[in-house]
Symmetry: C2
Subunit: 530 residues, 2 copies
């Protein structure tokens, strides 16, 4: 901007000022050769900063992805001479569809281009569908420039639209209110606000599923609170176990840990499980009885396959309140959604929302204050949420293309999920649950110690776990980057990995199968291999 | 998305599933009429949540703006019959140019529209300048879809570009490195990361200017650390006083407070002051001697008027390191910039960056981890930073228009600043410093207790301070919303207010002058009015 600014203050005035400054700086620096005398202090070490920021762990972008990044750099710098047995990294560590081959939806991006440059609306040569132009105009009329800060909760127009979407989605039993909606940067900011306000002190506990998305443990650690893991039941399609959760609340109370919230990820990350109506009802009961906030991470609500149906916590809560308001009227539910997943896959646009149900105004005000300190979430991301929840309708000019694109993405994901799952089913000493939803499979590496002496002894002699070793070798041999199960939590003595099923093509899956065969051959005891 | 999803699972299958779900839900709910029995727990109160989230204060969107919002709603709902002496709120409480009349720069928005919908590049009818198309292509080729998560520090391409901008801006003495750049959502996220990692425990202190931008005190409170205010010298154009700062470090050390960072806002918010080379040198000396991190909030670096020149902390540090590496090599500087201010005013796009200089790798890794937990900053905002720091050059097709638009905005802001300042100069019992930079004036309400008995007695009988009363009455009489000085901090017994000079036109300033006259007449003791 130096070029830009030099015009403003006038060239003559400026050069005078500049020479004065440079002069004074030189004199000053020269002077301080003689006058400045102090003992310079050393730099900060990690022992002098916040210990909880040092302690927090986030595996999705943790050690394996960092090695992968290094390999990617190596390939980039030496495209023909990198010495690796593959030519690119397959990023299966993160649900980031547009980093791979997923194309953005035309509907989203046409409206967004008009919001960025509204003068395109007056361009007669531009053949955008009428409903695209109409929606862009509607947003611009109601929200104004996307370059202005919005209300800290998000522009009222978007919040109203989201409230209507939720009410319709959930059958209208418990209508949503725009004042309870907060637009957020993906779902991550919502998690951060909720865990921050609910961390009363170091005795505050949060029930989180094991395995879980590590944003939760990381944020709980940052807030010096206690993560209290409840196991998802691998033998029962990774479903929740309400009696175990009740037991944990009781046990923790005895230990002085006050459970503040129950986190549920549905559809599950990393498990891909989808909860039933009964599961949801039982979890709400627990929260109603114990005054625990229910955090429903429902960002994968569009990613549901295989005959399952997504049921929102809000819908079930609405039914329960209608039947028994006396029992359920105090339930405090925060439910999260995002434009990053679903068939949108607009991760980089950072759109998302949180609905708060049943919170006291005084508590909601505190969340509002946190949102205010951050001013507002990105307004283009807010618009993206509007486009996601309020897509073209039958009869609209964009509808057919929108339908074709979304169906294409959905069917493709379903097929990729199936293909990868079938591959895991065939792999020796691997078990996997059929994917029901989300973007992940969380197969179990069923390497019994009695059969894999070499593997367990290698683990024993290093700081690595069985799943770390598997993921590192997978990466080194195939370029496939996924995340060891220990990054998400797993029952002691069990080992898993999380992989997305997003990468295109079948070749990478075949390479994985080949690698797996070699891995088993390398580490499984000869006597059992015969 | 219900419409969208219903196609995917097949209508027949789906309606079967749906009826099964509805059936089971009804049965289940009905059953729980009889079997569910528990005592419902009450809702959370603010006494059961994090006390520091309750305690944190953020005046920029605090009580006065909240009253203003209520009045705005009233006007909207009753446009002809609202009973107020004005028809709209003048938002002078926040630097939000595009909420007022500032138009986005064509250069930014044309490139952004192409990034959102790259197919426009193939539209022969679209007459965008060649350099706009070229830049969009360059970004798309290097970064890919803006709908994908980027590297958590920001896309390497943008970081490289920012590093080159800084190196050039600062004369190249201490070249910037792309690995030290973090793209952030405005500057707020950068502040949040820095204060979070530097808050080692409750004995960690942060030197912040008084008056300050309240993001700092709010974030320090959230991190349970101690804000240690150093006064800016109102009698000397709000400059810094190094000996006072040194004294504070000493005093606080004695009290067991370990100063972790010195925050400097230059150009100043809310004061509008611009630091000299000598000021900056002296502040760097303090940090070098005491091993204190220097946080330079330089988001207003383009907003510098009246013969002053912006000098970055990085530039001065580079000069000092060149002369005396032994003394300055350990200085840890974090400098922040944003697309929200300057002539960009793209607040809603949430673009910003932070450069870290001199930090140990191990500490930078922790900041990287925090960034990873949030995945990445919005990628369109990252692109906006690139467009800001790398604008059209002379000879580029966009250059003339870019120059015209940026000059227009800059000159306009300068003129508005001057007009408002002149008005304050004329107001009875108000003093103001000539605006040097930023977007604000911070006039002093010089209402002496001996002359304003009625005013001080009103304050005494309420929970309001003098500046609160003034701002509330200003809002109620004119619709002008600004922020009382107590929201930023001020010397005890002094009262100020912060107003932006962004609102267009002169009429609002005239209304303010009129109001001020009435206010003085109402509260100033008659004997002194004669």
């Amino acid at each position: 901007m130096i070029i830009a600014r030099s015009r403003f203050t006038g060239a003559a005035g400026r050069s005078m000022i500049r020479s004065r400054n440079i002069m004074s700086s030189v004199q000053y620096v020269t002077r301080c050769h003689y006058t400045t005398s102090f003992e310079p202090a050393p730099k900060l070490t990690i022992h002098e900063i916040s210990p909880q920021t040092v302690e927090a762990e986030y595996a999705v972008r943790g050690k394996i992805p960092i090695i992968a990044e290094g390999l990617q750099d190596l390939i980039k710098k030496n495209p023909t001479d990198h010495g690796l047995p593959f030519n690119k990294i397959i990023n299966a560590n993160i649900g980031n569809p547009q980093q791979l081959d997923q194309k953005p939806l035309t509907w989203y991006r046409q409206v967004m281009s008009l919001l960025e440059y509204p003068k395109l609306l007056d361009e007669p040569a531009l053949k955008f569908p009428q409903d695209v132009k109409k929606r862009a105009k509607l947003i611009l009329d109601n929200v104004g420039s996307i370059g202005a800060y919005s209300h800290s909760q998000g522009a009222p127009f978007f919040r109203q639209s989201i409230a209507e979407f939720i009410t319709k989605r959930d059958g209208g039993l418990l209508p949503a209110n725009a004042n309870n909606i907060f637009l957020t940067a993906g779902a991550s900011t919502a998690v951060s606000y909720l865990l921050e306000i609910l961390s009363q002190d170091e005795h505050s506990g949060f029930l989180i599923p094991i395995p879980q998305y590590p944003l939760y443990t990381a944020t709980i650690t940052l807030n010096k609170a206690k993560p209290v893991g409840y196991y998802l039941d691998e033998s029962n399609h990774w479903s929740t176990n309400p009696s175990e959760i009740r037991q944990l609340i009781k046990e923790n109370k005895k230990k002085g840990i006050n459970i503040k919230a129950l986190v549920v990820i549905n559809p599950g990350n990393p498990t891909g499980a989808v909860l039933s109506h009964e599961d949801i009802h039982k979890l709400i009961d627990i929260c109603a009885e114990h005054g625990i906030v229910l955090i429903a991470d429902e960002v994968y609500q569009e990613n549901v396959f295989h005959g399952k149906d997504f049921i929102s916590f809000k819908r079930v809560l609405g039914e329960l309140i209608q039947k028994r308001p006396d029992l359920y009227k105090n339930v405090q539910l925060a439910s999260l959604h995002s434009t990053s997943k679903g068939v949108s896959g607009e991760c980089g646009q950072r759109g998302g929302y949180m609905e708060l149900v049943g919170f006291r105004e005084e508590v909601k005000d505190i969340i509002f204050k946190l949102a205010s300190i951050n001013l507002c979430s990105v307004v283009s991301g807010q618009a993206m949420v509007e486009l996601m929840i309020n897509p073209p309708k039958k009869g609209d000019e964009s509808y057919e293309l929108y339908k074709k694109e979304t169906s294409g993405i959905f069917d493709d994901l379903k097929e990729r999920a199936k293909y990868l799952y079938e591959a895991f089913k065939e792999m020796e000493d691997v078990t996997a649950d059929p994917p029901q939803g989300a973007m992940y499979i969380f197969p179990k590496l069923d390497f019994k110690p009695a059969q894999y002496h070499k593997l367990y002894s290698r683990a024993k002699n290093s700081s690595l776990l069985i799943d770390d070793i598997y993921c590192i070798e997978l990466l080194e041999h195939t370029g496939i980057c996924c995340v060891p199960g220990n990054g998400f939590g797993q029952k002691p003595g069990t080992y898993h990995l999380r992989t997305t099923f997003l990468p295109p093509g079948k070749e990478w899956v075949e390479r994985w199968t080949e690698f797996h065969h070699l891995f088993v051959n390398k580490y499984k005891d000869g006597t059992f291999c015969a």
